[in-house]
Symmetry: D3
Subunit: 307 residues, 6 copies
């Protein structure tokens, strides 16, 4: 009976509209204020990429005469969108949104956005070193152009450097959303709070995780599936995790870590070390170490191919 | 010569149009009936998310006065789209589509869709526990709002709980498509047939695989790259895999499994156990066990950083 | 002060417009010529899929009467788009774009595109074997239709076979972009230069990496997270990596490799072998070997669940 | 006060939701059935144009080899969309939609749609004469291609000939919607029930109105603003207009009517006549008449330009 | 020479960027504030139509159970969009935008928008009479549903009644934009300041113009091309037009005006009069008058069809 | 029977694919070359409007600092799109497209496009006078901003001035398409070949037609429905219209023409004249004339409102 379907639906709507059923996860967001928007943040990332690597993205031709027009317009547009998103982020994180002063928040958003834009030249400088590292480190790469255009790691590192700059300025929520965008696109999950030096490269990259308090030196290379993670973390007297304690590894300069290695806890991997794939490392490693997995076992073969 | 290109193309079109070249993979889909649509299923997922977590997705403001309007419209729209997609799924799986009774299928689709909607309140209840688990388990999380809005695992688990409800009702194909959408977006691959308890969390998540006959208790936490998989499976006398046999692990309550661990076969990981990263486990593990990888080897360092 | 924001922005625009700050990564792309376009390449892939698997994608119904119309139009459209993208790829890779002869390049683009189209029947033949392998190898699969429609590995292998055909013809850049599209969508990273036989399957797939000089026989199956990678590579006298040396594994017929295994270097995994998950293999393996990880250690359990 | 706004809105929603306030204009449309869709009908018109004038619209190239592929696919797509829209139109006009037999309606929709498609060759033949008339009649036209591509009258006449064919077959509502689409685009309002011969042309066209029972011979030319309308119409004993009585003019062969002329009632304008602009004609006109407005008056000029 | 083109372009950019070349028409719009948006106003009109005529527009099904959900959500969305657009309109008209108080304007926008929404029930009541008049007055109309769905005049009158309500509340600019949207779509140009009674109908409508100070009674019917316009208007001592003087006609109840008639100046057309087509009327007309054009002349026929 | 529908469709496809049925209207367009595109020309018009009236269209804010960036980017984009469209137009008009030299055409397209851009400053200067005329001539106008933003005549005149500049340079087809876009949007049909002076205004505008050889002086004002048209035109010995003969009116400075007036043939309306509405004028008019329609007749009133 049709009416049966409709009575089911009506009953479900009524239950789902009960405040107690959603209030513990309901976001108390400020009336008339929009949530941060994934599609606006995609524009933020795309405009930043166009500004940082002129000629690769968007429609811009880059005759010397006209490059400044494009950078000018892209930067203005970036600024406008960013102010809105930062403002939305500030409202999102506010616990009692009814109370705060809107025009003050708006002016903070303008300040943060313009600070970010003033950091773009430095971000470009760092990214140029990352591109160089990827190019030199991959025998399959034909040109730096191909690296910028095709390599997922460059996208992930670009998002990280943007997100890290925003987070350092004090912008809430938005940096995390930007790094999750790269995570979804590339499978590379770099927490925006991590600290990463120059000439950083990631090969292939799917499954890489770099935790919030990680510190990575210069000229470090990671392969796919590498985790720089935390061990279990201490709880306070109420059983809640104590936030803000350094709990991820320090990777010094010139380290290479092969595929699927898991490095956990506030340990140090000394400069120039090589960590083999698929290892589980929870203790510090001296400089110039080379660590590989214990030899696998040969076991009896049985017809059928299985295990 | 231009004509040369066109004769190549013409020849290819003719070959590709030969029925014998495509018939072994050709889908005998019912005339005038659409295939299930990925973009319609994205709407299904988005509408479900808006209904389950009011205020986070879509344009909805959530003044107490108006929340029921939004839930009402979103639920009606969800119902309409879902009826079409379930109907398409029913047609897809039918081996002799010419024969079946269309109006009966249509009425089944209505029934399944309204059953699903009546399960949404329970789905919300479960997801609230998952959000709580993710929030408590991550020292970097600032609020439940951030968890819902940013964490890929919440997206993957939401899709899983939706897909599992549909599959339990009896809907074919659609559940698998919904879980693959989350797989593509997050790198987390949860089979909709798996059984998963409350307070389930996945950290980072890229590369997680949870097989079709897995059973997971309450308060379990997985890290990125964890596999709950099958060993080789028995074949019947014709050499075809025997379907429907339990072949994935049982993970009891309060278990934590670290990054890249591979747990294979119908084994049991006892309650409260901790499985370290990068291990290969094919035998059952007693409750409160702690298993970690055999120590890696230190090998001789040679200049150049390679292995 | 508002003016303060604007002076920051103005200063940043000026710095970012300085040629020296972007010239090392600037792409010297030919005036008036477009860069290759991701969205055009998505159309290339979608049209190819519609042609290869008629009835699954797009709006095409496949009455025997009309299937040739659809294959005809899709192939014509594919040709047109592909000519443009190949042309863009040829221009991209050119170091001194001012010098080359446009109409010659255009005619090369036409030639390459029509060569590719004449390879589509063979690509379909290979893919049909891959679909069959996936169907037979997965007890959860209900029909070949479901495999084609839902399994990410089929998408990744389709993109690989397309990209490999283009690369073999001599098309630059575009093959890499097409394989990166699948990488982003599925987490499976197959280099278009790899050589892969018939009846190839990948289960789940996230994190799989198959390097450029890998050679894979017939009837090989990989699970998620498997790497067929390179060890460190030799440098020339200038310290640059020597390009084009075989540096990835050879996997012979009928091999199965379980989740997260890392196989590195120009070694051979002999026919019929089984490689267990999470192992690190850098030496050749005899035919019909079975290799698994050294047993993990049981360590002392401590309350709290951590490591 | 904010609450004041919300109480206003809430009150309005309540009033607007009262059934008695909308029921006299409410459309009793059949549950689960869509209304006819303007955007679907735009596709109908665009596909028809592509089929009728190959090479002008859409992406089709028209190499002799490939033209049949495009016509095949466009015709199949047209058929599919048209079946849906005709079905929607049949449901719309039904007074007691609960009662009728769905599958019968569906089968009528298929029949009407395929009848329409079988009329396309004749529609093309007629339109070719209209293009010729426009080309010969306009000294500013450079080629027939320009006429087809640019002249709004060709668009309006195309829509009319499509709508008229549908209406003649018996399709309700849709023909009117298609003619209103041309009306909105061109300002030319031709009722689909009008009868119009070959070699018909309209110059400029804005404001032309051709009523439902008009009959127009061959080789007739109208200028902008011409009305072929009705005088007041007879009422039945209840004061309602009597429907279906011929009430618009008959325009015989080879007539020209200049801008803004208003021809009203079931009168006949004899073959070969010329009607000057801005006249008001409510009586029949003999063949080969020439009718122009009474001379305007010269009145006293006053400085300032006004009247 | 290529450089020649670029120097032309560079020169043009420089000239066009000179402030004196655009400052007389430059809009001094308030920094960071958007201009009113045509596409947002289309949403305003579409949402209003969905609310006023439930079941005709949008996706809404109108089961009695669910109609209030749709009206609720549509009204909330209308309110949100309208607040933004009214705010943009208030900023646009401000001569010295730097000076005014933003939060005051914002609160005015909220007030105006909610006032408008509280007028929607009365707007619906008026429109129902207009639909009835169109239905009764057109022998070709099959149902009120067809009138609402297809007749351009209903669209134009709906926009007028919306625009008039906004203008009466005090909203600047937006009403004019809404009436111009209908003008572009239908060729009917009704100034939002005009006063129009119940049961108003326009047949065909292209070219109708109704000036700002026109007053139209109940049950009036206009045909296409009718102008209710102004004669020349008085200038003040500086030669500028004196604004705000009544300068358009008064049309009393039950008047019919046929196609292309031009009625100019603050004159009165008495109740129940009939004005024939193509006449030029600049003097008042007594009630129950019937006015038609002076008879056209028959002139000598000459072969060739011209004039 | 279903097969019946399909056989109808198949038969129609075959007939429609016969070359003789479409060849007389078939466009012999050059292989691989696109037709001119309406949506690209909409971009041309929108970019031109943004450049000509900075701050009204698009997203541009117009801080003095940034206005040149926006004009720079918009002009570069306009140039790129225009080159393609002019090239498409050149190919369209070519009778034997196989023969001509592509690179020569391409270089003509570049030349024409850059010539057009160098005319933009003069186009802006003219349009500023038109805006002023509209503002001064309409007592309902509140600001020049409102005139630019809302008045359809400004859109039509802008398109005319753009189209006229292109046509004067020698661009084929495109100018006509641009003027038809304004015709469709506003109901105002100005042939791009017409010559129109400064301070030109059109009030309301629907139905205005200005023919190809019209010459209009400075400070002329037209109302809706005014035609500046041709009488019948002379034929050559083959019965074809002789092209290029002046056949439309000359309107001298300071003339006002009221609604629906039809002025036909190469006559002159002397400076400062006023032409009343609804008149039919086929003879020249001395300067400072005032011409109005012959008085309408009062006829016997009959109950019922009809004529």
């Amino acid at each position: 009976m049709t009416t049966d379907h409709f009575s089911r639906i009506k009953k479900a709507i009524n239950e789902l509209s009960q405040e107690q059923s959603y209030k513990s996860v309901c976001h108390p967001h400020f009336k008339d204020h929009k949530m941060p928007s994934l599609s606006a943040l995609e524009q933020v990332v795309n405009l930043s990429r166009e500004i940082l690597f002129p000629g690769y993205y968007g429609d811009s031709s880059i005759r010397p005469d006209s490059v400044s027009y494009y950078i000018g317009v892209n930067t203005e547009n970036l600024y406008t969108i960013l102010v809105d998103q930062i403002f939305a982020g500030l409202c999102f994180m506010c616990e009692m949104p009814e109370k705060f002063d809107l025009s003050e928040r708006k002016s903070i958003a303008h300040d943060y956005a313009s600070q970010f834009i003033s950091k773009l030249p430095e971000i470009r400088r760092m990214l140029v070193t990352d591109v160089e590292a990827a190019f030199l480190g991959d025998p399959a790469a034909k040109s730096k152009g191909e690296v910028i255009f095709c390599y997922p790691a460059i996208r992930a590192i670009t998002n990280y450097r943007i997100a890290n700059a925003l987070l350092t300025i004090g912008v809430p929520l938005i940096p995390r959303m930007i790094s999750e965008m790269a995570h979804s696109e590339t499978g590379i999950d770099i927490h925006p709070r991590a600290t990463i030096g120059e000439y950083f490269s990631i090969d292939h990259g799917t499954g890489v995780v770099i935790g919030a308090t990680s510190i990575i030196g210069n000229n470090v290379k990671l392969f796919q599936g590498v985790t720089l993670g935390a061990k279990s973390f201490p709880l306070d007297e109420n059983g809640n995790p104590i936030k803000g304690i350094p709990r991820h590894p320090i990777i010094e300069d010139d380290v290479v870590i092969y595929a699927q290695a898991t490095i956990l806890g506030r340990i140090t991997v000394g400069a120039g070390s090589v960590i083999g794939g698929n290892v589980w490392v929870t203790n510090s490693v001296a400089p110039k170490s080379k660590i590989i997995q214990f030899k696998p076992r040969d076991v009896l073969y049985t017809e059928g191919g299985g295990i």
